[in-house]
Amino acid sequence: MSKFKKKANTKQEIPTSALPDIIFMLLFFFMVTTVLREVTINVKQRIPDATQLRKLQRKSLVSYLYIGEPKKTSQWGSEPRIQANDVFIEPKDVVLWVNQEKDKLDEVERDQITIAMKVDKEAKRGLVSDVEFQLRKANARKLLYTTLQEMEE
């Protein structure tokens, strides 16, 4: 019995002094790997999968277009719409929007602008190709269809 008694006397606390450090490490990880959300996305975004992904080089040259069915169907209807920044636009407004985005860039880099299109799976090609046509007119020819990585067998 004496043996057990001795053991019972030892401290049974787990040292928690390193806990803040662990949490801080997690915090820094999330701070580094994430970007702040800039726009509220008002369209459904079920991004399609693909295998042959390419990564964008310079984020400062990228502008985003969101295409999909509006989340508030009672207000905006169920037809897929184009969202740029925080508003819905029509395909004919794309040229104007591209020029606004180009104005934000340095003069020498304006031709290198890349448009990243986040298109919902269910959106139809008709609308997307209308946007592509306007982008050609606006001379913003670098395009990226944002997709997710599909598992390769």
Binding site: F30, P48, T51, L53, Q57, V119, R125, G126, R136, L143
Partner: protein, 195 residues
Amino acid sequence: MARNKQRDNPEINSSSMADIAFLLLIFFLVTTTIANDRGLSLLLPPDPDTMEQMDIKIPERNIFKIQVNSADKLLVEGEPLTDVTAIKPMIKEFVLNNGRNPELSDTPKDAIVSFKTDRGTSQEMFIEVLDQIQGAYYDMYAARVGVTNKQWREISNDLSDPENKRLYDKGRGLKDGKVEFPMNISIAEPSKIGG
């Protein structure tokens, strides 16, 4: 002596530090999204208004036709196809033919993959097919320089490195400012037939 007693344990209570850090952590978790800047990259043709209207006759053998209708059904070289992944080997055979089979392309330089959809085709199907076409080309480029498909894509992502640029030009067969092995993907304007 009374003073000494007060100085016994000059510690700051830091047990709430973890809670503060947790709060910050949760704030960042909620307000951020993991950046997703990956996808299928594409270069659009120039503005149609500034292009000269020219009727160029391209021999039938140099065009690989892929058509998708509004019900997302495939038609490849005039034959219906159900398996999208079958496109990849077909394109490779077509491009690397080098004039052997009279029904396939003359040279990789002349080979054109034409991809036509309907206005009612879903974006999902479009991405799937485009993925196959680009994959076929990336595979061929990678094989030419002896790297894997994934390495090739990483090389082409960063051309500022001279070694990457050299491999990239070798894969695409850059000779005297002309690419011998271009990725000719023609995405035609969608048809309006099937609503």
